[in-house]
């Protein structure tokens, strides 16, 4: 009896599933964009994810909102791995400190920049830093930042133990930080533009 009640409670109507999953679109798209690298591929990836999910949800054991998101994300990650991996630019490429430095100097705003310009300068650096992560790290980092998923949700989505997620996140976030620490997000690009700023300040 309890079992039956449980099963009835769990069953998703198509309407409910659609309502639930439609709300997930922005987050899935964000993650897809960072995974696939460009808008057209991201759209395809999200599209295929939904098609697969709707073909199978009535057989899946999905209990709530968070489960639903983890499940769709898992489908998306698998689809991505199957299809896009080969087209990926070599994920092992890591920037040398010198290159990173050149990047930050080039991108640094020099004179009285609007907040927008500073944002986009940091944004560019942040996206490049994420894109440059080794594949396994990149996937968990993307899910963590773009969908703000918990360790547990990520573990479900990438099909590995929570401990593995935590160690990948650890390494991924360390790398991000190393690559971004010269790009203070408020445009105060640490010591590098200080010399410029000082020229203006010293009367």
């Amino acid at each position: 009896m309890a079992d039956l009640v449980e099963r009835l409670r769990k069953r998703w109507t198509r309407e409910k599933f659609e309502r639930q999953t439609r709300a997930l679109l922005p987050g899935l798209y964000r993650a897809a964009y960072r995974l696939a690298g460009q808008p057209a591929d991201a759209e395809d990836l999200v599209h295929d994810t939904y098609v697969k999910a709707f073909a199978a949800y009535d057989r899946a054991d999905i209990r709530g909102e968070a489960d639903c998101r983890a499940w769709l994300t898992r489908i998306m990650v698998n689809t991505y791995r199957d299809r896009y991996r080969r087209h990926q630019r070599s994920p092992e490429v890591q920037r040398s400190p010198e290159e990173a430095e050149v990047m930050s100097i080039e991108g640094a705003p020099l004179a009285d920049p609007a907040a927008r310009a500073e944002d986009s300068q940091f944004a560019r650096a942040a996206k490049e830093a994420i894109d440059g992560l080794p594949e396994d790290l990149r996937i968990v980092v993307v899910l963590f930042f773009s969908q703000e998923m918990s360790y547990r949700e990520i573990a479900e989505a990438v099909d590995c133990p929570v401990g593995t997620v935590m160690s990948r996140l650890y390494r991924g976030r360390r790398l991000l930080r190393e690559r971004l620490q010269d790009h203070a997000p408020d445009g105060k690009v640490a010591s590098k533009v200080d010399s410029n700023t000082k020229l203006k300040v010293v009367r």
Binding site: F17, E18, V51, F54, D61, A115, R152, M166, L176
Partner: protein
């Protein structure tokens, strides 16, 4: 706890994934070690900025319609999705059950921490609002004489939220107006109070409008956006994602600007003076 331990636990600490005891040990070390404190703050700042950056990628308007046109009806489809997703979930839940959402103050910026605590206390107490109204003018009238500064008219609806009332709060040694909004079954609070004497967090994370930038913080299960305009701190606290709350803050900023332009005589007063 030494510096090495801190380095290894920074992320879990920022994510609120440590036990009370572990978190306390870290706080203790950070209280005494400026180098670690700087590292942890840097991590926190950069990561919240990264969240804002990725939140800017929005799906095209028509994407859902394109997808919806191709969806199966959910019965008898040939496609097979691999077995149970949920192996190991129980173990994972057990592991994370001890994770408590923590707020941590490496360098406590009261403006960031205090409004979140106030909000959490309010939500947990299930108290009623001090005044319940959906009418901005009525709410303004209610605040009249209760706070010693002139409040901007509260926007009555901003995309997913709608005005439901207000509260008068007292923290950081000052009176604080709280415009209360509703998002589904959740409350959203916009606190407004004087900036004077307060340390404002570096305005890093998000640009809300021309010349208005905000910092975004995650604390105790809430997201908190803080910005300053004309000597007033605006502090928006809700149980929302970074993307949602930054959008909301942008919507509110835009409406404040509009209403100021519509009714504002502030500039001319200054010119006369």
């Amino acid at each position: 706890m030494n510096c090495r331990d801190i380095e290894e636990n920074t992320h879990a600490f920022l994510d609120g994934a440590l036990s009370d005891m572990q978190a306390e040990a870290i706080r203790h070390h950070l209280g005494a070690c400026a180098a670690c404190r700087r590292e942890v703050e840097l991590a926190r700042t950069l990561e919240s900025a990264v969240r804002v950056v990725v939140a800017e990628d929005k799906p095209p308007e028509n994407l859902w319609n394109r997808i919806a046109g191709n969806l199966a009806d959910g019965h008898g489809s040939k496609r097979r999705i691999r077995g149970s997703v949920w192996t190991g979930v129980a173990a994972a839940i057990a592991l994370l059950a001890l994770a408590t959402v923590q707020s941590f103050l490496a360098k406590p910026v009261a403006v960031v921490e205090v409004p979140v605590s106030e909000m959490r206390t309010f939500v947990e107490s299930r108290r009623p609002l001090d005044v319940a109204t959906t009418d901005p003018q009525q709410l303004l009238a209610w605040f009249d004489g209760k706070v010693d500064f002139r409040l901007p008219p509260p926007p009555s609806t901003v995309k997913p939220v709608r005005l439901v009332g207000g509260r008068l709060c007292y923290f950081l040694d000052r009176r604080v107006a709280s415009y209360m909004y509703r998002h589904g079954d959740r409350y959203v609070s916009l606190y407004i109070f004087s900036e004077s004497g307060l340390e404002i967090p570096e305005r890093v994370s998000a640009s809300l409008a021309q010349g208005v930038s905000a910092s975004v913080h995650r604390r105790e299960g809430f997201t908190h956006v803080v910005w300053v305009e004309e000597g007033f701190v605006y502090s928006l606290v809700a149980d929302l994602s970074t993307e949602e709350i930054v959008d909301l803050a942008r919507g509110m900023t835009a409406q404040f600007k509009e209403s100021k332009h519509a009714g504002g005589s502030r500039m001319s007063v200054q010119v006369l003076g």
